[in-house]
Subunit: 221 residues, 2 copies
Amino acid sequence: MTKKKPSEQAKMNNESKISNLVLRRYPRYLHFLREQKLKGEENVSASEMSRHLNVHHTQIRKDLALTGVKGVPKVGHNIDSLIDAIEEFLNWKNSSDAFLVGAGHMGRALIGYRGLQNTGIKIITAFDRDPEKIGLEVDGVPVYSIDKMHNLAKRLHIRIGIITAPASAAQEIAEMMVEAGVIAIWNFAPTRLELPEEVIVEHADIYSSLAVLSHKLADKL
Amino acid sequence: MTKKKPSEQAKMNNESKISNLVLRRYPRYLHFLREQKLKGEENVSASEMSRHLNVHHTQIRKDLALTGVKGVPKVGHNIDSLIDAIEEFLNWKNSSDAFLVGAGHMGRALIGYRGLQNTGIKIITAFDRDPEKIGLEVDGVPVYSIDKMHNLAKRLHIRIGIITAPASAAQEIAEMMVEAGVIAIWNFAPTRLELPEEVIVEHADIYSSLAVLSHKLADKL
DNA sequence: TAGATTGTTAATCGATTAACAATC
DNA sequence: TAGATTGTTAATCGATTAACAATC
């Protein structure tokens, strides 16, 4: 029996081998690029990005190289091409419909988050158990009873689920989502979800950043 | 002129040299440990943690070793000691008072987040500009006019600020906070803040996790 | 005792940074 | 042309994993 190295696995699954660390940097790049574009800039140099984003210029070069966009010496990279390429890379060009479960404050915050409009995800419906929330409309997004999720997800072919429910309900909700055909879950509840391997789960973990903050602060006091 | 290696810098600033990657793992460990404690367990082995948290057992051993808690062969580590040590490490044992600016959904979500109670941060007051929000009370936390922040922060010696305002207002708010004596800022607005170096800024960046999710999903479709 | 588990040292892997030639 | 900037290759750094002796 041959051991599968992660890289071979990746090939087999037709997954690209780009590292998460790089992926996590792209939204910051994108943000900066859009800003520059708004300012009327046409090109940007890696050195300039490096200064503003506090990332080593070589790293920026490598990250940008992955997008396939070529730069021109003394000029830099074309901003539009970069924006386009990164959006393409992240699959943020055409947004996919998503369901959100848990119409509490966190859920509504996310629904109202204007920044999400540029990110390839569109929340089209929210669900909740609380009869007081069912029937509401939040920023144009209706809140339905969670019982309706299964049918609706199947009918609309929803592939992305967002969990903004309390931790205690998260696992159950996640299973319902998978059951209904969801293949990627963005989890804001502070729990690890146990799901079949093939389901993509990303945990929006606010504690990890708090841990860094707290520790640094402790050092300072 | 001698170049300062990061490590020397760290010593000079009296900062500990523990890596952020380790720090970011601790909250997950803590969560698991508390869970086990609730189940009535007294000890836990690194192998067990490894299985549940999907982290290599050697890594867990190293991370736990940093806390100073010793394990016993065939038994494992005492859960209480670990919880205690990690909380100590993160400075989560006695919570510091914090101000939150921006009482929109994100702000209220954070105020209502029960999980925050175990994390060394206590939001005692919220601020907003919106007259409709001023005077409200959210989960026992009063919302004041942002004009009052400066005086109140000075008076109560607040060192931690949380920004849950829109991106457009974040920089200005951050500067007000620093002006008022805040030395650590937890920023939920989707903007990089430009502040004096000595201010600790942690960006709770939801886009980075979305980037990973989107990319993985693109691969799968 | 035997075996589960710890904890440390060494090997590997991957990410970041440095150096530098190529180019507009 | 000179110099800013690109993009690539090599060196370094740090994090993860493997191997294994020590211990209860």
